[in-house]
């Protein structure tokens, strides 16, 4: 690293900040939070702001990954295809600065989206429900930033490891589809084949471990611990698991004291892995690439 990470990140943030598509998604996110809060205020009696906060996780869960993936899947490969990377690398920043500067820049964009949505929820919570659940709110915002950063890492890492936009898009969209729509088939399906039955509540340990490696579960499991009530993962369900199991975290399903890797906080490690692993692969491949 030659110390230009911050300069590149700032340029990236500014550049992404001019994307209308990204602002559209952030607007949609904020709009959904507003609509949700007003609807809850209108229909429910006797709730406080802390109990409403978990609602914000629903639009965030869906829109944040999409926004992060859109903001990031072209980060490096887009510049390779257009040729602007030559202008950038002709200046003092080197390839390391480019990958990590871009990662930081895109994480900053995601953070801005989360902060905006959370600020709106904080203000609406105070105005409509008359309280400011600051501790819950801070924990929630921090986990949401990490959740967004995981997808930003996935996208930027992918964009650094391939040589065409099409490949980057295919990997990013494919991964997202697996996480949101095919996860149960890919985890509970093999379980069914091995044991002749779908995973029960008290499923085998390996299954519980694999299942929570989905960043969406990692997010909802951890967030459920910092806000009132629980947050349900937004997922396609195939009914391969027992119905009861869907709303439970691996720690709750484990008979007795769960090992550390099944504890709810382990979700933070999972999210960090989703951010770091693609970036590590992308960085390694990009360093060796002929541009």
């Amino acid at each position: 690293m030659s110390g230009h990470v911050a300069t590149v990140a700032r340029k990236e943030f500014e550049d992404a900040g001019r994307s209308k598509l990204l602002w559209g998604l952030i607007g949609l996110l904020v709009g959904l939070v507003v609509v949700g809060y007003v609807a809850i205020w209108y229909t429910a009696d006797d709730v406080n702001a802390a109990e409403v906060l978990n609602f914000v996780a629903t639009p965030l869960q869906v829109i944040l990954p999409i926004a992060a993936l859109i903001a990031g899947y072209m980060a490096v490969v887009g510049e390779r295809r257009s040729g602007s990377i030559k202008l950038l690398l002709g200046l003092p920043p080197n390839r390391t600065d480019v990958v990590f500067g871009k990662l930081l820049g895109r994480i900053a964009v995601v953070t801005a989206a989360v902060v905006l949505a959370c600020l709106v929820s904080l203000v609406l919570g105070a105005v409509l429900f008359g309280s400011v659940p600051l501790v819950d709110w801070l924990g929630f915002a921090a986990l949401s930033v990490l959740f967004g950063a995981a997808f930003a890492g996935l996208a930027v890492g992918t964009s650094a490891s391939v040589s065409t936009r099409g490949k980057s898009m295919a990997i990013v969209v494919g991964t997202y589809m697996i996480l949101i729509a095919l996860w149960e088939l890919l985890t509970a399906g093999p379980y069914y084949l091995v044991y002749g039955e779908g995973p029960p509540v008290e499923a085998e340990t390996w299954y519980l471990l694999v299942e929570q490696f989905n960043p969406i579960f990692a997010y909802t499991n951890t967030v459920s611990n910092v806000v009132e009530g629980s947050v349900f993962p937004f997922q396609f369900q195939y009914g391969l698991q027992s119905f009861e199991a869907y709303g439970m975290t691996p720690a709750e399903r484990y008979p007795g004291d769960a090992p550390f890797y099944l504890q709810d906080w382990f979700g933070v490690v999972v999210l960090l892995c989703w951010m770091a692993a693609p970036v590590a692969i992308g960085y390694y491949r990009f360093r060796k690439a002929d541009l």
Binding site: H4, K11, E14, G90
Partner: protein
Amino acid sequence: MTAIETSGLTKTYGELTAVDGLDLTIEEGEVFGFLGPNGAGKSTTINMLLDFTRPTAGSASVLGYDAQTEADEISPRVGVLPEGFDIYPRLSGRRHLEFAIQTKDADDDPDRLLERVGLSTEDAGRPAGDYSKGMRQRLATGMALVGSPDLLIMDEPSSGLDPHGIREMQELVRTEAERGTTVFFSSHILEHVEAVCDRVGVLNEGELVAVDSIEGLRESIGGGATMELTLSASATGYREVATGIAGITEVAVSGRTLECTVTDPAAKASVVTALDDAGARIEDMRIEDVSLETLFTALTNGEADATPERQTSGVAVESGVAE
């Protein structure tokens, strides 16, 4: 110290050899033109100097630093105008320059840079995505000049520029050279190179086929020039005058025209003076150089367009002024 040195620099893509054992030395302060038809390997060579592409064999050093292992030492000291680059469409021209200034830790004034490359303040405020090809080229040139680099590496700097822009670009290269900057630039158009270069290297199919000054190259293929003088009256009586001048090998007369074959460039002026002294009135004059196109064709096995080019100029003869 040498500005650029390559030894046995080779790049292959599968079966294809893009650059084949290139040995090249460019001294500090030199303006070096890197010539060759499209696809000759010029950009691949430049990409290896800038660590965009890694050589299959051989090595390259820039300003004394290894182009691969010490690339971080090189980039702050060079200005780069790459080939096939693009700008950031959403960022303004000024923001591009500011970014270059930040990364180079320089204190250049963006307005001064804009002026040098011929972009207006209004243009600089607009998103660079609205720029024409020529404006993008100008912006990137401005970015390359940031931090007064010791070496300018420009890949096809005249692409996308109109004749006026090309002249400005040549002017800029001259100014930089006077400042002591080494300039290494590539082109597939000879006139762009001959106007500003101290030496040229000709690359063909990945191999260096010649390195010399323009004059040296001309001589090496035995080239001279033809000078055609039109007098106010019959030229017959002046034939002896022209033949008597050293450097003129042959004189043909037809009507009012004298056609001289010139081997020494200085002889051109002598002919004019001698004829004038002898009382002849020169009405018009044409000089046909052995065009570089011909030279190029000879060096690159006739792969370039073989049509010889006519260069005509007025009485003040300076064959190096290219449009």
